[in-house]
Amino acid sequence: MTNRILGYYGQEVGDRREYLTLAFSPLSAPLRSRWRNNGLSADFLGDYVTTFLPADDSTAAPEGGRKEIKHSVTYIANELLENAMKYHEHSIDIPIGIHLELTGTQITVSASNGISDGQAQCYQTFVENILREDASELLVRQLEESSCGETSVKSCLGLLTIMTDYGARLGWRFEAHPTYPEIMTVTTSAVLPLKNVSGVSV
């Protein structure tokens, strides 16, 4: 498959201020053992980002705004990590990554993992569907379908809630892996505009 970008991905936002990347080896522990780490990592990113807001203490964001950002980053990081862990191609030792980046106008949380060509094809179709439809309507429809026991809508719900409940813009990058030609690296990125967070002006 060829490299591809879908949605809102990697748009130029000017100065890059701070970033943090965590990487996990998928072979180090079974999924169930690693699940607890998703929460710990997401909580850590949520806590960590608030220390950057803002850099100048004299314009410190009100407590409500900081709490809101902390929760939003924690929720988004948790959902992206859960998906990356669940859908990672476990037979290959490619790290699963979660990346947090803060600029003057936005926070970006992105997660990357390896998937097979076939999975990449399915995921791209799924992403195109999300981008084509009204996310809010799609979310309610998926919630209705989930009551019928449709397990496949799970990751879709996580992504849709990031878009509709948290106002984040999603983007995806699909890249052929340089070492494993049968594997693609998919990076899912959520951009949270700081202007959408009440009380915060960086």
């Binding site: 169930r32 809101e68 859960e82 919630l143 989930s146 026991g149 799970k154 996580g158 809630t161 409940d165």
Partner: protein, 115 residues
């Protein structure tokens, strides 16, 4: 009184089996793991119609699988004649206002009390 406890959460069925209190952070890995909690929620629908209260005021975190669980419960509850279902939520916990509104779209008669 029925209870379900995990490392980061506690759930209790109380007040004559019509109030379920959630505390902590719920981030289980999928519907299979949420099944016992969903069963506990559904048990409130048995018996005569009465107000059912889901108290999430101290539930600090809920992942999307947890949202799916509540959606399934609400979808089942809305088909019960004379159902009176309300969520007690907190304005200071940010997911409450954001996510519970979606449940109201599934069941317009659902009451969400934010305090």
């Amino acid at each position: 009184m029925k209870t379900i406890k995990g490392e980061s959460f506690g759930i209790q069925l109380e007040d004559g089996d019509s109030t379920v209190v959630f505390k902590g952070a719920l981030r289980l890995s999928g519907m299979e793991d949420y099944a016992p909690i969903l069963d506990l929620l559904k048990s409130t629908l048995a018996g005569p119609a009465r107000p059912i209260v889901i108290d999430v005021r101290e539930l600090d975190f809920l992942n999307s699988s947890g949202i799916t669980m509540f959606s399934r419960f609400v979808i089942e509850a809305r088909d019960h004649v004379g159902i009176d279902l309300r969520f007690l939520a907190s304005e200071s916990i940010h997911w409450h206002a954001r996510s519970l509104k979606n449940l109201q779209r599934l069941m317009p008669a659902l009451i969400v009390q934010l305090t």
